[in-house]
């Protein structure tokens, strides 16, 4: 499926703004992203399997907090980094 990559993570994707990856759930998708782009998962998912505080996942435009949410090949996943302050 198509995954939209935010600017802060594009050092892992050779500056690609969109990549292809697969997985039956959001969690599996991040594992596949990490296989393709080593190191990426730990920047957005912590060692206890939780999404980091300022990271958000959107599936077809809907925010999803639960990494077990099922995915389909036609879905589009967007990763968003929220930054505030100076």
């Amino acid at each position: 499926m198509r995954v939209l990559i935010p600017n802060p993570l594009r050092s892992y994707t050779d500056d690609a703004a969109a990549v292809s990856a697969s997985g039956a759930t959001l969690d599996e998708l991040t594992v596949d992203l990490d296989r393709r782009f080593p190191g990426m998962r730990f920047r957005v998912i912590d060692e206890q399997g939780q999404v980091r505080p300022h990271i958000k996942f959107f599936v077809n435009g809907m925010q999803r907090r639960d990494l077990s949410v099922p995915l389909h090949d036609a879905d589009e996943v967007m990763i968003v980094c929220a930054l505030s302050g100076g």
Binding site: E47, Q48, I55, C81, L83
Partner: protein, 364 residues
Amino acid sequence: MLLVATRKGLWQLKSDATRRSWRITGPQFLGHVIHHCVADARDGKTMLAAARTGHLGPTIFRSSDRGRSWHEAKQPPAFREGSGRVVDHTFWLTPGHASEPGVWYAGTSPQGLFRSEDGGASWRGVDGFNEHPSRKAWCGGDQDGTPDGAKMHSVLIDPREPTHMYIGMSGGGVFETADGAATWRPLNRGVRADFLPDPDPEYGHDPHCVRLHPVLPDRLYQQNHCGIYRLDRPAERWQDIGATMPKSVGSIGFPMVLHPRDPDTLWVFPMDGSKVWPRVSPGGKAAVYRSVNGGKTWQRQARGLPAAQAWLTVKRQAMSADAGEPVGVYFGTTSGEIWGSRDEGRTWKCLAAHLPEIYAVEAA
């Protein structure tokens, strides 16, 4: 060379042989929070940088060409899955013992100890500390820390014996292991903890920076939340050496630097620890204080520093000394200035300004 870690990236300052002229290069990792960057004196080429950003999780970058190119660690420090603990950032990096090339230690926020055996590429938790049944009693819960997060720092390795180490924790205190980090014990007697119900507890203290002298490894110093202390092992009780500081200046600060050859010479950067803890130069009069007799007496060293309206804050990793003759002493401020002295603190010069908030300065 100085490695300058800031809240917005990494810079390097390089000098000519006289240390009169300095040239700044960088930034690298612009926009990354760099908590610490340390060069490995064992091989003269490896550097590690502890990094994160405002939104991305923590990682380690490695260089094997003295900072020209960097590669991310394959497995950054992370607590055991299922432990419920999360590394917010790696705060402190220490190359291992000279007999163990490739070994590094990392201290994290919240308090955790990690070890790498491959030059920082992969890290494993040191179970003897991270899984110790008393760890929570020593350190409190992970949410109990100070606003910037509880920290493990000052990972010190005895140059005579790689299995003998000390660590400092804010909060928690100073701890010692004599068996390669398998077991630990507190080492805080004599250190005040006037912020706790029991002002003389076994642990729970707040050492800001602990140093071990490389030539006399039984000599330890610490700049603590509650003063300045010296410990000469095998003694177990720290001696208060901050009481001889001028009353108007006090004995509060964060960094502490030792002379690389003379165990009796050290520098501190006093800051205002009164009332709500402004943590700036007392009275706006910036000064370094030096002792040449193990803390019996102190001399003010302010020539070249602004004499008034200089409200400088220097963090615990942001003061360093080189191995020159005479020794060069350096500090970086949260207002983005690097100050240096090439005559052991007698005179000071601003080497760089307008940098982001400086977190750490290491002479390499």
